[in-house]
Amino acid sequence: MAVEPTPIPAVVDSPAARRGPLAMEAIALCKDFRLGRGSVLSAVKDVSFNLYRSAVVALVGESGSGKSTVAKLLAGQERLTSGSIRLDGREVDVKGTRGFRRYKSEVQYVFQDPFSSLNPVHTVRYHLTRPVRLHQPHKSAHELDRELVRLIEQVRLTPAQQFLAKYPHELSGGQRQRVAVARALAAGPSVLLADEPVSMLDVSIRLELLNVLDTLRKDFRLALLYITHDIASARYFADEVLVMYAGHVVERGPAEDLTQSPAHPYTQLLVSSSPDPDDLGSMLRHGGKGSARQVGESPASVQGCRFHPRCPFAEERCRRESPPLLTLGPSRAAACWRLDVTAPAVVAQARGGGEGETTS
């Protein structure tokens, strides 16, 4: 049947839902930044997804795509322009210091740069004591000490007492980032927002930190949002991947499906741009010169599909109308008018398998 894939409600059946119960819902998040002289930058536009306990959702995109803004919205560090956030089924409305603190005990943030997120004049013990005191105020000195040891051992920094006494400059980048993770855990959160937690680290130690995060995810049933520009690590680490471009989610789906058969031209570009040691030279061979080149104007101000100036498949409609997310099977969706051309196999499969759903 020659039907177009149908627009869907923004939340699809997430593969992350198989891991555990719903923890957090982001519903049609929008964030505009005023740039002065009346101009407005729409940094995040209609972004919706769910986080589930014990599951990892990855947000992938280039610098400026709005992925960090999404995390900051969820963390309560930026105010929503519109949309809503629900935590455990209840609308989040952070008001006042106390409300903010209560929210923070559930939702914690790990920053990208472990070199600037720790205070150089304080020891690891100080960094961990503060959140424990704040969020678990009734602990005795002895209990506090036991808690600190437990926290630091969770991120595999042993011997604990030795590490607690150290200053940030005495630690390697990977060790610092683990202290930052331990600090986030001190509040006993159910949701952890990790904003590029490994991109400042050496390749050889990234894996170790991701493994630490993964163990914590299992042990504490954490709902993890993993923000990265490295789609290969998302393949290994995440259950569901959302690809963002210029503030929009352009594609989402199970990590393995999405990376192996990307449907949106931007996801395809991301995949082909990643170094691939199993296919030497592929990175430089794929995609002719210019296909990937940034255009002069900010992509957020582009009319129609925001990717069309860089898209090899763009046609008239793409320049006029911005595509909504279109279903590609039960848990996949992509925002592109030309999916028939960009990903014929995925579309054919979606039609073959999903016909029953469209005829309701």
């Binding site: 610098s63 040691p277 199993d278 030497l280 030279g281 990937a292």
Partner: protein
Amino acid sequence: MTATPGDEIGTGALTGEPVLEITNFSVVYRTAGGDVHAVDKVDLALHPGEVVGLAGESGSGKSTLAYGACRLLRPPALITGGSVVYRGRRLAGPVEILGRHPDELRELRWREIAIVFQSAMNALNPVLRVRDQLLDVVEAHLKLSKDEAAERIGSLLDLVSIPRARLKSYPHELSGGMRQRVMIAMALATDPEVVIMDEPTTALDVVVQRDILAEIVELKEQLGFAVLFITHDLSLLLELADRVAVMYAGRLVETGSSDEMHHDAAHPYTKGLLNSFPSLRGPRRDLAGIPGSPPDLRGLPPGCPFLTRCAYGTEACARVDMALVAVAGSPDPTHVTACPFVLPSTPIKVLSTVAPGAAPTPTPTAPAAPGGGA
């Protein structure tokens, strides 16, 4: 073997004399707590038109090696031995960089050997327009008239695909990729024969990184310079470089052609690096990484510095002299390793078992239930 774009030039040039030859080179940092042996007896050669990749973790000494070879280090860094010979086509004969008077180095630096620094944001002057920064280089190193200089900087921007209108821009008005391109244009301003690139794409995202790397390869083929490319990302080097050298704790532990290093890595550290990065295509492998952290470079015990993190370690490792020996049975005569015990064929072993990949068994590629009627 899949060919990288620079293949013909790189391997063909290997027969000639290297344009930059570093031998037995050592650098220490004098600190109150003792000497830090940042670079220890390193040999490295760069041939004309070749891309050599230098890989290693932070603190492995790769940047110290490159800057030291250009005599760009300041105290407490101290070059304690070795030689660096530069053989440029434009020069009368080979030049020993370490023996030169600092004033004489001015003619070599930038004119012959240029560097693209890691952080374009910090390396560009934020209060000067791009034009003035480019002119500065051109006027300092080339004898050109005003008009010629203006034309030269215009054509430099053409070279890296930046519109000439951008000459008027300040660095903060450019995107990260554009800034890095300006850095590359600056390095190429004087048509150098050797370009040292210190993590030029680390701060950029993959799409821009791919663009810039493709551009470097293109420019290299067009202009014929040799590249020493420094990065911690071995996967990048396997794509880009003709030969790869891996550094650990201030020493070279393995060198060879990219292809050899990829498929038949011999040193346990290289094997570990290769098993550290997630691949995007092909089946999901179990990844191991390298547990532990690099050793303190003050008063390193004799023997192999990787021993504490190595799964193959034996008693003999504490006495090994870290000399690079040819890898047994390798078709590549330049493939050398500092580990005489482990062979390319030795299966990968990891010291501590870390949990492999996180996600559950990958969902089958056809998740849609066929013919499901509503």
